[in-house]
Structure formats: structure tokens, C-alpha cells
């Protein structure tokens, strides 16, 4: 596997073997993709991208790897949403930029959802879309859509390349923008005539983008001053119950070690957001697992009890904070580090903040604290945390005659020992997976956190398997979520990927049903699928899964899952779960953590209402 270039433009005109050659725009696209170190592409062909697909075919034919395989294999999905989620799964699992190639019009509009998803979760992605010829733009030509306008509102950035002379620099700049700063997706829309225009390949160079580069430099090159470090520790000195609230930025910035060392050096307990899972080993004694709407009760109570909260690459999202005025009510200090200045003070005013990179900032703070002999005795706080963890641990009905989804996840976790990549769809199964798996490493947890895109799990798992052929990749899906991109089952078998697909089938949209039960008096509008006739096992078999089974006997959980995970090729397991199993704890919309509902099996601290009170739309107006 080639390593991607850390600093694009590493290939100088002198060393690039093709510098000075006359290439078509399409050949330029493929050459830059190869130069960026990509080892796999995802995409679906079509009229307006055909020149690039042809150039890719020729590139793979003329540049075989030592073992005869293709240097840039193109993985063909069922549709373009699948392709882009595969590229996103590849990016999430590897930390590298994922790339997808789609055609104009419907091909590119099918990419809108994953592009928005990647913006919302800060995932580096480059989507190259064909566009109708320059002269036809704006004429309602066949398969034309205003992609630069549509994507402009969804992507980190979009380029419409109307001058073939700028194509090469634009492509390289797209990769730079995707991976730098707060990462995100960049769309490069290339009219077909530009793909066919012959230009002189330079082998180096990017667009100036002066504003972006200046801001990036300012963020990356502004270290924490001694004075700021001193302020931080002065505020910390006044605290006896500090807590770290870590988000996806820890994973994006490769700050896992820095966070662990910081937390261990000073004794900070750590809770993470959904996106931050894996940024701190969940089996660490200081780990509190996830906080928020479906966070662990002990994490949420710790947030209520802490007097100093340190947000790291986390953005006080509504699923975490709920009611901003009531979040962390006893925190005298809110400290925040984020690479994105727009996130600082957006929801909660920070008393101490730094706009900068997490890893270097945490290392700097830790070194300063150690050098200045900062010491604090948090033993009472640690004792309190330990009590919260034992008293309010996650639990469920272990005597039920029906299969409990939590038990299925616990079984998978026991067998894999937390050393698997888990992807999910969106809904109850996603929250159960977040709660009941151990995550010891970053980039093992792939989920659509901000956008909440159902159908994410299967294509993301496919992309992740290409990024990490050495790891078991398991898609934990729901019966409703997997339907959204079920066409990708065939992609798993076409490429003979050993992806393991688990469908926790509760015969409907479980999370929607949970809300309807709580807030709409049990009127299950459009969320029940008991009349649906789908046979998932047959569907998997029809798509070529040699191992496809249904599990409906609680006593067979352990043995079935062991066989399922031990199977060498693609495997599909449908588990018929208790349709009434709920996600607990739950902080209802418009409620604060003290009002958290913990269900029948997790101990509550007492302030929760007997039954959730809101029956109409929440005060925050959020879903």
C-alpha cells in the first residue's frame, strides 16, 4: 500500500516522470489520483465521466503492480451514494483521503448525501464528478445538474473546472483542502470537454487559495503561550472535579496518545462524544464512555457533577448538550480547544480557549503542567466516578425469553475483544453499538454521527475493508437502515470481501418507534414493518453470501456468532431481537441530564420523572 503524501506537491517537476508530457484532462485526473497515493477508487460510470474511466482503464493496464494487480482498482457499487460512503468508510478507517468518481446529473446528485455527511463529520473525501460540456452548461442538457451550486452548500469546497489549464493544480488543491485544517469533502466538477482537452502536465503546483492558506497557517503555527498555559492551570487549580469531554477531533488529529498521556498525567476522567469513540480506550479506568442523549448514565452524571469541563475537538452538539443553559451546571470553568475557530463559543461560552491543533496543544499543556509541578489530589472525585460507574452501569433484561440486542453486541465484543472495525446504520442499533462495544483504538468505529444517514453502515464497511484488509470489519445494521443501501450486499460478494453483516431485526424503525412510544402516545405512524415480506437471509443468499443465517434462539447466540465471525468470506447474520428493546439511558428532547430516563435496568439517581413528560414537540424543536 502506498502511503499518501503528507504534503502534496512533494513530486517536483524534475522528478515527476511525466512532467512536460501532453496529456488529456482525463489522464491528468488519473495521474494526480495516483500521485496522491490512492490505492483504491470507488465509482459508477456514465456519459460525462467516460474519458476519465477510459484513462483509468489504460493506467491500470500500463502500470501493473509487481504482483500483476491493478494499481488503482475501481470498486463499482450499486449506486453513487454507495460509492461515496465506501470512500468515506475508507477515509474514516485509514485517516487518508477517500476518492470517488461519479458522472454528471443523477450520478453527482446521488453523491450529495455522503458529501454532506462527510462535511458534518469532518471526513476527508474528494469526489470527482463529470459535467456536461462547458458549452452545454445551463441549457438543461441530458444528465445536467447544477453541481457546483448544490455542492457549494454541502461540501467543504467545490471547484467547477472550466479551464483545462487549471485542472492539474485544482485537483491537487482539492486533496490539500480535503485533508488540511478541519477535514471535509471537496467536489471537483469537470466538464467532459475539459477531460478531453490536451494540456501539458507539470507534475507539481497548486492553486494559491490565499485566504484559506493564511488561516490554516495561523491555526497550525500558533502554539499555546506560557501565559495561556499558566491561565489554564490556574483555573484548574481551583477545581476539584475536572472532566474531559473529547470529540471526533481527537481521532482526526491523531491525538489519542496525547489525550491518554494528558488524562493520565493529571487524573482527568474522560467522556467522549459519539464521534470521539475510540479516541480514548473505553476500557481505561478513567474512561466514562459516551455522554449525551444516549450516553452512559455515569458519564452524564459526571458531567452534572464536574466543576471544570475541558472540551477537546468537540462542538457542544445538540445531541450532547440538549439545553445549553443546563449543560454541566456546576462547571465553573469551560475550557475548549478546537482547530475550527467557528466552533469556539458557538454554543457555550468558553472561559479558556485555544484555536489550534489538538495533539500539539495537549502535548504543550501537559509539558507545561509537569514542568511547573502542577499536582492535584482528585482521589475523592475518582472515588465518586468509580461509584457512579458501578451504581449506574449499563444493563438490560437478562432474563428475557426474547433475544436482547445488547446481548448480541456483548457476544460479538467478547469474541473480537474490541479488535474489530464496527460500522453502523442509524437508530437504536447504532446507539447500542456505541454503548456496548469496547473501543480501544481510533478509527475502529465508523458511524454517521452528525447527519445520521441511514444506509451508511454497509458501504462504509466495504470501504473500511479495503483500507484495513487485516482487520475484521463488522456492519452492525438495523432492518430499516440496511434496506436503504441493500444493493451493496452484492458489492460485498462481487469483490469477495470478508465483511460481516449483522442485521438486528426489530421489524421496523426502532428509534422512531421509541420516540412515538414516548412522545406520540404510541401512534406508530409509518414505522412498523411487520407486514413487509422481505426475507433477509434469502436476499443475502441471492447476492452470493455463502454464509447467511437467521438467529432467533437466545440459547444459540454465542455459538452462532462464533461461527459467523469465524467464517472466512462474506457472512450475513439476521438476528430477530426483542422489538420492544429500547435505548437507555435517554435524555429526552428539551430535558437536562438530571432528568435522564434510565429505564427499568439502569439505576437512576432519582431526579428523573416516572414517565417522560413531553407529549408534543420538544421545546428545542429538534427531532
Amino acid at each position: 500500500m502506498n502511503a499518501q503524501l503528507d504534503t502534496p506537491g512533494d513530486i517536483s517537476p524534475k522528478t515527476h516522470p511525466r512532467a512536460g508530457q501532453a496529456l488529456t484532462g482525463a489522464d491528468v485526473v488519473v495521474q494526480v489520483l495516483a500521485d496522491e497515493g490512492l490505492d483504491v477508487l470507488f465509482g459508477y460510470s456514465g456519459g460525462a465521466i467516460l474519458p476519465v474511466y477510459d484513462a483509468l482503464f489504460r493506467h491500470n493496464l500500463e502500470n501493473p503492480r509487481a504482483d500483476g494487480s491493478e494499481p488503482l482498482p475501481l470498486i463499482v457499487p450499486a449506486n453513487e451514494q454507495g460509492a461515496c460512503f465506501m470512500a468515506a468508510g475508507y477515509a474514516r478507517a485509514s485517516g487518508k483521503v477517500g476518492a470517488a468518481l461519479v458522472t454528471s446529473g443523477p450520478g453527482a446528485t446521488n453523491a450529495v448525501t455522503p458529501v454532506r455527511d462527510c462535511t458534518a463529520d469532518s471526513i476527508p473525501l474528494v469526489v470527482i464528478s463529470g459535467q456536461v460540456p462547458t458549452a452545454a452548461i445551463g441549457t438543461d442538457a441530458f444528465q445536467e445538474a447544477p453541481i457546483s451550486t448544490i455542492m457549494g452548500a454541502c461540501a467543504k469546497h467545490v471547484f467547477l473546472v472550466t479551464d483545462a489549464g487549471t485542472l492539474e493544480a485544482t485537483l491537487r488543491t482539492a486533496f490539500h483542502i480535503a485533508r488540511s485544517g478541519r477535514p471535509g469533502p471537496v467536489v471537483v466538477d469537470i466538464p467532459k470537454d475539459v477531460q478531453n482537452t490536451v494540456v501539458t502536465f507539470k507534475g507539481t503546483g497548486q492553486l494559491p487559495v490565499p485566504g484559506y492558506r493564511a488561516r490554516l497557517r495561523a491555526i497550525e503555527q500558533t502554539p499555546l503561550s506560557d501565559a495561556r498555559c499558566a491561565e489554564f492551570f490556574a483555573a484548574l487549580k481551583a477545581s476539584s472535579r475536572p472532566l474531559i469531554y473529547a470529540g471526533g477531533g481527537i481521532i482526526t488529529d491523531g491525538a489519542r496518545d496525547a489525550l491518554r498521556d494528558f488524562a493520565h498525567s493529571f487524573g482527568f476522567p474522560v467522556t467522549t462524544t459519539l464521534m470521539g469513540i475510540g479516541g480514548f480506550d473505553t476500557t481505561d479506568p478513567l474512561a466514562l464512555h459516551m455522554l449525551g442523549m444516549h450516553g452512559t448514565a455515569y458519564a452524564n452524571y459526571a458531567v452534572d457533577d464536574c466543576d471544570f469541563i475541558f472540551a477537546l475537538g468537540a462542538r457542544f452538539d445538540d445531541r450532547v448538550v440538549g439545553v445549553p443553559g443546563k449543560f454541566a451546571p456546576r462547571a465553573r470553568t469551560i475550557a475548549q480547544i478546537d482547530i475550527d475557530p467557528a466552533e469556539i463559543g458557538k454554543v457555550k461560552q468558553a472561559d479558556w480557549f485555544h484555536a489550534g491543533t489538538l495533539r500539539t496543544s495537549l502535548e504543550r499543556l501537559r509539558a507545561w503542567g509537569i514542568a511547573h509541578g502542577f499536582q492535584a489530589d482528585y482521589s475523592a472525585w475518582h472515588e465518586h466516578i468509580a461509584q457512579l460507574k458501578s451504581r449506574h452501569c449499563l444493563n438490560y433484561d437478562r432474563e428475557s425469553p426474547l433475544i436482547q440486542p445488547y446481548a448480541v453486541i456483548e457476544a460479538i465484543n467478547r469474541i473480537t475483544k474490541g479488535h474489530a472495525i464496527i460500522s453502523t446504520g442509524v437508530g437504536q442499533h447504532q446507539m447500542w453499538s456505541a454503548q456496548y462495544f469496547d473501543f480501544r483504538e481510533p478509527r475502529r468505529w465508523l458511524t454517521s454521527g452528525s447527519m445520521g444517514t441511514m444506509g451508511f453502515g454497509l458501504p462504509a464497511a466495504i470501504g473500511a475493508q479495503f483500507a484495513r484488509p487485516d482487520l475484521v470489519v463488522i456492519d452492525i445494521d438495523g432492518d430499516a437502515s440496511i434496506r436503504m443501501n441493500i444493493g451493496e450486499l452484492e458489492t460485498v460478494t462481487t469483490y469477495n470481501l470478508p465483511v460481516k453483516v449483522v442485521v438486528l431485526n426489530n421489524v421496523g424503525d426502532g428509534m422512531v418507534r421509541q420516540w412515538q412510544k414516548l412522545f406520540f402516545k404510541g401512534r406508530f405512524s409509518a414505522s412498523d414493518k411487520s407486514l413487509h415480506k422481505k426475507d433477509f437471509v434469502k436476499a443475502a443468499e441471492a447476492d452470493g453470501f455463502d454464509w447467511a443465517r437467521r438467529l432467533d434462539d437466545p440459547s444459540a447466540i454465542e455459538s452462532t456468532i462464533a461461527q459467523f465471525l469465524a467464517f472466512e468470506g462474506p457472512a450475513f447474520l439476521e438476528v430477530m431481537i426483542d422489538p420492544d428493546a429500547g435505548v437507555y439511558p435517554m435524555v429526552g428532547p428539551g430535558a437536562c441530564y438530571a432528568e435522564m430516563v434510565t429505564g427499568d435496568f439502569i439505576a437512576n439517581r432519582g431526579a428523573a420523572p416516572a414517565a417522560p413528560s413531553p407529549t408534543v414537540a420538544s421545546p428545542t424543536g429538534m427531532f
Binding site: 452548500a153 469546497h157 494559491p208 487559495v209 485566504g211 475550527d340 467557528a342
Partner: protein
């Protein structure tokens, strides 16, 4: 409250739409917007006036600062600055005498006249009100604000 925002923007396809889109997404109506070339052919100066909550506008400015095509963005309202607006107005000839003393008359055909006036937005408002009390206005084109930090 009124916010006057000055943006130096790269001349790229869609750049203007992206800036305007961030305001539209919050349901804010842009009161006035001027975009024109600068000395640098790669960049345009954009002056934008919007009425809205201070904190929300501050957040929109921060979001705008993340746009790749934005070179610089600053809120001028809270700083020393100069702002000017131009209006071109067509009016009945009955207003010619007054207009000749208060604005620059560009054309006059005995029936209609066209005049230009520039100044602070409030001055433009006042000029139009005064003129309208003397003559029927037949067409008004305002430029929107041009502004620079002083």
C-alpha cells in the same frame, strides 16, 4: 441591529452564492449587497448589510471565514469606517430646480430628468424623500453600500 460586513473574495464560480447562502440559511435577508472588482483581478470586494441578532451574525461571519474563497472578512459596524451609497433617480421635470441644487443632474428632456446623488444611506433616504415631495419619481436605482475601514 444593523451589521455592515466587508469581504474580500476570490473571483471563483459560485463564491458569491456560498457567502449569500450562509445568510439565507439562517433566514436573514440581505439588505444590500455590492460586489465589484478591486485592483487585484483575482479578488472582488463585497460589502453586505444585514439586520439581525449580534451573536447570530457573529457566528455567520465565523462560518463565512471558513469558506475557501474568502480572503478576508470583517465586520465594519463596530470599527471606524466610511460608507457611501449612490442613487440614480428619474423624476418629473418639476423637481429639476431643486435637484440642480442638491444633486448632479445627468439628463433632462423637458419632461423627465435623471440625477445622481451619493452619500450615507440616511442621506440618500432623505434626498429621495425631499425629491419625491417636489416631483413624481419614475425610477430609482440604488447601488447598495460601498464601505472601507478608515
Amino acid at each position: 441591529m444593523r451589521h455592515l460586513i466587508s469581504i474580500l473574495l476570490q473571483n471563483e464560480a459560485g463564491a458569491l452564492a456560498r457567502v449569500a447562502g450562509l445568510f439565507a440559511a439562517r433566514g436573514y435577508n440581505i439588505e444590500s449587497l455590492t460586489v465589484a472588482a478591486t485592483g487585484d483581478e483575482e479578488a472582488s470586494r463585497l460589502s453586505l448589510v444585514v439586520y439581525g441578532d449580534d451573536a447570530v451574525v457573529e457566528q455567520i461571519v465565523k462560518q463565512s471565514r471558513k469558506l475557501v474563497d474568502v480572503i478576508t472578512i470583517e465586520e465594519l459596524t463596530t470599527r471606524d469606517h466610511v460608507e457611501r451609497e449612490l442613487v440614480v433617480v428619474r423624476f418629473a421635470a418639476s423637481g429639476l430646480a431643486w435637484a440642480s441644487n442638491h444633486a448632479r443632474v445627468l439628463t433632462s428632456d423637458g419632461e423627465h430628468c435623471v440625477a445622481e446623488f451619493s452619500g450615507h444611506t440616511d442621506d440618500v433616504d432623505e434626498f429621495l424623500a425631499q425629491l419625491a415631495s417636489r416631483a413624481t419619481l419614475d425610477g430609482v436605482a440604488r447601488s447598495g453600500l460601498a464601505a472601507l475601514a478608515s
